[in-house]
């Protein structure tokens, strides 16, 4: 099964192509121009893999959490490609995709995505067999609040893990682990995560697929607060 994976939710945007568990192509670039480059990148990756869009059996799209503006590009492109080609689509959490890249590390996995001002999107995962399993809910909030809940060695992944490295090491000391690789989203990994779901005949509804924001907009939050007070 040939799957095109897209993720534009974090600092690095990525498009990848797999055929079963075999990676055909991957292209990653530093974001800031997601909208301009996304289709050209898809075309590049398909051409690199010797395919056209018509040859693809399914689409996988990173739904975040991450940059709200960024993720909207990838999700919109994914849903419209799926609609126009009549191919199935799966939404994949960008946190899951980061953790999946460290599925060979037998420790608590903690991917972090920056949410600004010492806040992070995060989740805990453990490797199990060929994949990873999430423990508990997705987290959004203060990095220190998250760290207080960690009582065992953990591997920190993702761009925000490096951004907040000082805080993490101060708080956790020897429990905090890092590695050089697997900290950048890869389109092929987004596709690999969708593979078992497609294999079971599952997919998401293309027209309704939406980003995983985890946080309401500031205006919505203020409105809710005002309604609670009054």
């Amino acid at each position: 099964m040939r799957i095109l994976g897209i993720d534009t939710s974090s600092r690095f945007n990525t498009v990848g192509l797999i055929d079963g568990d075999h990676i055909l192509a991957d292209f990653t670039w530093e974001a800031g121009d997601s909208l301009q480059k996304i289709i050209l990148s898809i075309d590049l990756v398909l051409a690199s893999g010797g395919l056209t869009l018509a040859d693809v059996d399914g689409l996988a799209v990173g739904i975040g959490p991450g940059s709200w503006t960024g993720v909207r590009v990838g999700v919109t492109v994914g849903k419209i490609l799926a609609y126009a080609t009549n191919k199935p689509i799966c939404g994949v959490s960008s946190l899951d995709a980061l953790a999946y890249q460290a599925r060979d590390v037998p420790t608590l996995l903690c991917p972090l995505i920056n949410a600004g001002k010492e806040n992070v999107y995060a989740a805990f995962f453990r490797p199990r067999g060929e994949t990873v399993v999430k423990e508990g809910e997705y987290y959004v909030g203060d990095i220190k609040g998250l760290l207080k809940t960690i009582k065992e060695p953990a591997l920190f992944l993702g761009n925000a893990a490096h951004l907040y490295r000082q805080i993490i090491v101060e708080e956790l000391g020897p429990l905090a682990n890092y590695r050089g690789e697997g900290d950048v989203q890869r389109g092929s990994v987004i596709a690999l995560l969708a593979l078992p779901r497609f294999g079971r005949g599952e997919s998401d509804d293309a027209l309704s697929i939406s980003p995983l924001y985890l946080k309401e907009s500031l205006a919505q939050a203020l409105l809710a607060k005002r309604l609670t007070i009054s």
């Binding site: 909208l35 898809i42 419209i80 980003p211």
Partner: protein
Amino acid sequence: MLLLGIETSCDETAAALVADGVILSNVIASQIDLHAKFGGIVPEVAARKHVETIGYIIREAIDSANKTPAEIEAIAVTSKYGLVGSLLVGVAAAKSLAYTLKVPLVGIHHIEGHIFANILSNPKMSMPHVCLTVSGGHTMLVYVKDLCQYEVLGNTLDDAAGEAFDKIAKFLGLGFPGGPIIDKLSAQGNKKAFNFPRPLWRSRTLDLSFSGLKTAVINMFKGKDSSTLPIADIAASFQEAVVNVLVSKTLQAAWQKGVSTISVTGGVATNRRLREAFSEICHQEGQQVFFPRPDLCTDNAAMVAAAGNARLKYGNVAGLDLDAIPNAPLKGVT
């Protein structure tokens, strides 16, 4: 030629199919109810809703015209002028379709879309003409030399006219959006009850300004018990001041360019008093005035498809790297 138009520059998610000047479908999902509780349009809320809605709207535009995606021959999308987070969703959708269907993509300026709303509604409207496009997001005077040939004559220096309506309605506790509410209320009020300022009215410039008028209204009634205020008179007098400025500046522009055809378009072009005043004065002055059909006044994608069709005739095709540019100037084809 069968074109799909897509428009998401502000708070309407819209898609339409237009073939050679005939509208086959014109689907618009308004977010007005969603934003009403904030008293105005919240960009992040708008962008989120566009992503949720865009796929359904495009499908409905195609299905309700009894067409299939494969029959579409070109895609036109509003890529310039508006809220960047909103524009981005439409552009991402448009280029995905253009890539999949292997058809040309055209990027349209939002104001150009409104200019074409009237050309689409009134095919007999002559060129050149002067176009006033006026809504909650913009107020602009454009000399339309020919199809896709523009000279911007004037622009608002502060608030858009529709924005002033919104702010006055909010101040008077009337709700959002303010335009239709004030329009309706004004019918029961005396438009001469208060002589509010008409900013830049007597000035030679073709630029406009509504901020001072809005402040004058607010300052006159600030701190007063709203239940004692003559709301309908205030609404009618405020509306009259806005209408006077819009009509006189547009006529001034028409005289300056020596044209006898005036096009009034955009959301505020639905305002009854504005239509009445333009019709009266244009009749006296020997000008012909045109308004779009009501469903093409507010943001829609049929106008975008019409503009795209015209641009395609000039060979004006965008690349798949088309970007969303929130504050791009209006430019014709060269």
